[in-house]
Symmetry: C2
Subunit: 120 residues, 2 copies
């Protein structure tokens, strides 16, 4: 059992759209991810997802609107809701909270799908 410093943990990796598992809470996981540019449209059949922005701004696109999430803010995307994350500016750092069954690309498989995320 150790504490984790978020700022420090984000220096431990540099690739984008490749979440790192930073801890397990029962069947849930806390993951850290760096976003740059725009991801793929997808939804998750069963899993809700919490996005807490640590640095930068995340624009979450939905089919009917966009929501800009700044550092110190979070949004929960319910399962079944199509969304497409985009990092505004250079990049953004995001903490994800979601069931450990969650695939980053949801119902879509692409070359950005990470089946077994690395651990911090």
């Amino acid at each position: 059992m150790e504490k984790i410093n978020l700022a420090q943990a984000f220096t431990a990796f540099s690739d984008y759209w490749s979440p790192r598992v930073a801890g397990d809470i029962n069947t849930f996981q806390i993951k850290l991810a760096k976003f740059r540019g725009t991801f793929d449209w997808h939804h998750h059949e069963h899993e809700d997802e919490l996005f807490l922005v640590i640095a930068g701004t995340l624009r979450m696109h939905f089919r009917d609107r966009d929501i800009d999430v700044d550092a110190g803010e979070f949004i929960i995307v319910p399962h079944g809701v199509e969304h497409c994350p985009e990092a505004l500016g250079d990049e953004c750092h995001v903490v994800l909270l979601e069931p450990n069954t969650t695939l980053n690309t949801g119902h879509v498989t692409s070359d950005r799908t990470v089946h077994t995320p690395l651990r911090i």
Copy 2:
């Protein structure tokens, strides 16, 4: 679906040791809590708990050691592990991530037990 600004949400309540539910992620909840002074020793039979410190310093006492968790740091306390949270200094603001079955006082019932936490 709305974003939540943590700093703003923490201004919405002022009582201590009384977590507010700020969102549901499947069977999990994100809760906000203000800590002041020292809580009660307890453990959770089944639930792991993540404590992410937003402001101030949380000293988490365990039977064999203490861990000081500062703003921007988190710690996960596994189920079954006895712990006693203490706010160092004036107060600390904490984001909790845990199953929605989690009672704040764990296996102990006291006048600080919150059976049905309010929502932000």
